[in-house]
């Protein structure tokens, strides 16, 4: 929000035809009334976009709800009202909350473990050129490999359940954090690093005081990508084989031909995933750390 205001300010200043008094008022924080017309127009734009979005969603939902059976078979596609009823029912008996908790646990622990491992490996590879040249190619190959192919193997190794799911999630998000911190560390100018070397800084001090803070912007960008992927991988693992989680709820509903249940689980998943991403985006949006 604040960045939007800053971006608009230069055009606001010193417009032709402004009297000196007006300009003086504008720079005076107490004379905010000068800005109201512009803010009102901004608010108008915002409102128009939001109304259009709500309208589109309403049209899609209405079409879904009232489409003739010949076009949309509700035993396959369900209806919004049936889905809403299913969500309400599951919420009252706590099914959605319980399954979402499982998925969230896998996502959170996976992000934490994969994040720490990725940042650690990326920092090592980014700050030690020889090591970087050694481990970057294999990481690149593994990154290109569809990780979902590992799930059957992980099931053999770790069994079905939260552990397998968490490890899979951690491995998927590892790469985002690896590349964020690797690139972040490598983008640090040599002059900064030399300065710390001559000041007597150890490798660890250079990482802590220079490379890590310099990578915060990169890591936040990586985190923004990693969160949706963490949900995707946790749910994928649940769909393939699990007895818990929203993914399992989607799969078990589909397997008993219950599209309302499937969509209910999916909508709730969407809600959880978007709220988590949104919360992180808001937290990360304030950062200004970069070299």
């Amino acid at each position: 929000m604040s960045s939007r205001r800053i971006a608009l300010e230069p055009s606001n200043r010193g417009k032709p035809g402004d009297s000196r008094d007006n300009r003086a008022k504008r720079s005076d924080p107490q004379a905010r009334s000068e800005r109201v017309p512009r803010n009102r127009r901004l608010f108008g734009d915002w409102l128009a976009v939001r109304l259009a979005q709500i309208g589109i969603v309403a049209i899609v939902l209405c079409a879904w709800q009232f489409a003739p059976v010949a076009l949309l078979d509700d035993t396959l596609a369900s209806r919004p009202t049936l889905i809403a009823a299913q969500i309400f029912k599951w919420l009252t008996i706590g099914v959605l909350q319980q399954e979402a908790w499982f998925t969230l646990c896998a996502v959170a622990v996976g992000l934490l473990a994969g994040g720490l491992a990725g940042i650690g490996a990326g920092m090592l590879a980014g700050t030690m050129p020889m090591l970087g040249r050694l481990i970057e190619p294999p990481v690149k190959f593994l990154f290109a490999l569809p990780k979902i192919a590992f799930v059957p193997l992980f099931i053999v190794w770790f069994g079905i359940g939260l552990f397998q799911e968490t490890i899979f999630t951690a491995i998927v998000v590892f790469f985002f954090f690896f590349y964020s911190s690797f690139n972040g560390a490598r983008s640090v100018p040599a002059a900064l690093s030399n300065m710390l070397i001559l000041a007597g800084g150890s490798q660890w001090q250079r990482v802590r005081l220079l490379y890590l803070p310099a990578s915060v912007g990169w890591l936040l960008a990586g985190l923004r990508l990693a969160i949706p992927y963490a949900f995707v991988s946790a749910v994928s693992a649940e769909v393939i084989s699990s007895q818990h989680g929203l993914g399992n709820l989607v799969k078990s509903s589909a397997s008993v031909m219950d599209p309302a249940g499937m969509f209910a689980a999916m909508f709730f998943l969407l809600l959880v995933s978007v709220s988590v991403s949104g919360a992180v985006l808001i937290l990360g949006g304030r950062s200004r750390w970069s070299v």
């Binding site: 300065m195 070397i197 001559l198 000041a199 803070p213 200004r288 070299v291």
Partner: protein, 277 residues
């Protein structure tokens, strides 16, 4: 080490005669080349140079003539291919933590305030928080930025950032300053102010200085000795002594300076075939 940092530096108004001081940095037949794309570019070839303690030595010469390489060697950031490099009478084998290095790049951390940037080298050396902040405040006040301690680098002008970088370099009391065209990105006015400030600080702290510059006027105004380098691979063409009487205004040009300026110019022009053009 820590005791040296926290102790007050003796104020010295009259610089001792550099020729009587022990040798601080000694290059003995030093060569250094860089390999890239299978070809070796020789930056320095058999360079011998002695810098005495407390001397202000400028290195001038065509760009790409290995002057920066010489500073990087003195800082211990590079290893010589051949020859000996001694610092303070001992062979230099790793990063030289007795030197402060200031380049054209300010190398300030944008997420740290001026105070935190200046205190950083002391933080690295394990000096306690109150001590290092006090030392940083002292040196910030000395370079004239007392009111800007809480500012961030992005909020400062180029000249102010340069002074912050200078303060950070001086905060851990290095014996030697290595300066690689530190003022070339500044406007003429700011440059003069900082040059004067630098010369005063160097005198006060009794620092040894190696300054790489393309600005012959800067070299003549600031230094006791000017070393003129040839084109790559760099050899030393000639060394000039510049008399610097105590208490003179370094910003004020002298008639004698013009003589040295012309000599150096002719020397460089001969070397780079400028005279034929």
């Amino acid at each position: 080490m820590n005791a040296a940092i926290s102790s007050l530096v003796p104020e010295r108004s009259v610089r001792p005669d550099p020729h009587r001081q022990p040798v601080a940095i000694a290059f003995d037949q030093v060569s250094k080349g860089f390999r890239s794309h299978g070809r070796v570019t020789q930056a320095l070839e058999n360079v011998s140079l002695e810098v005495r303690r407390g001397a202000f030595v400028s290195l001038v010469g065509p760009s790409g003539s290995g002057k920066t390489t010489l500073l990087n060697l003195a800082a211990g950031l590079l290893r010589a291919d051949a020859g000996r490099l001694e610092y303070g009478g001992a062979n230099l084998t790793g990063p030289n933590t007795q030197v402060g290095y200031l380049t054209q790049d300010d190398a300030l951390l944008p997420w740290r305030s001026v105070l935190a940037n200046v205190a950083l080298p002391l933080e690295v050396r394990g000096v306690g928080r109150p001590e290092r902040l006090a030392a940083a405040r002292r040196i910030i006040a000395r370079v004239g930025l007392k009111d800007f301690e809480k500012h961030f680098p992005a909020q400062l002008s180029g000249g102010m950032r340069k002074r912050v970088a200078l303060a950070r370099t001086l905060v851990y009391h290095p014996e030697t300053l290595l300066l690689d065209e530190p003022f070339s990105a500044l406007d003429a006015q700011t440059r003069l102010v900082i040059q004067k400030q630098l010369r005063e600080l160097v005198g006060e702290l009794g620092l040894t200085v190696l300054l790489v510059t393309h600005d012959l006027h800067e070299a003549i105004a600031l230094s006791d000795t000017i070393v003129v380098f040839s084109r790559r691979p760099a050899r030393i063409l000639e060394t000039f002594e510049v008399p610097q009487p105590a208490g003179r205004d370094i910003l004020r040009p002298r008639a004698a300076d013009e003589q040295i300026y012309l000599k150096i110019w002719d020397l460089l022009a001969d070397d780079s075939d400028l005279s034929d053009a």
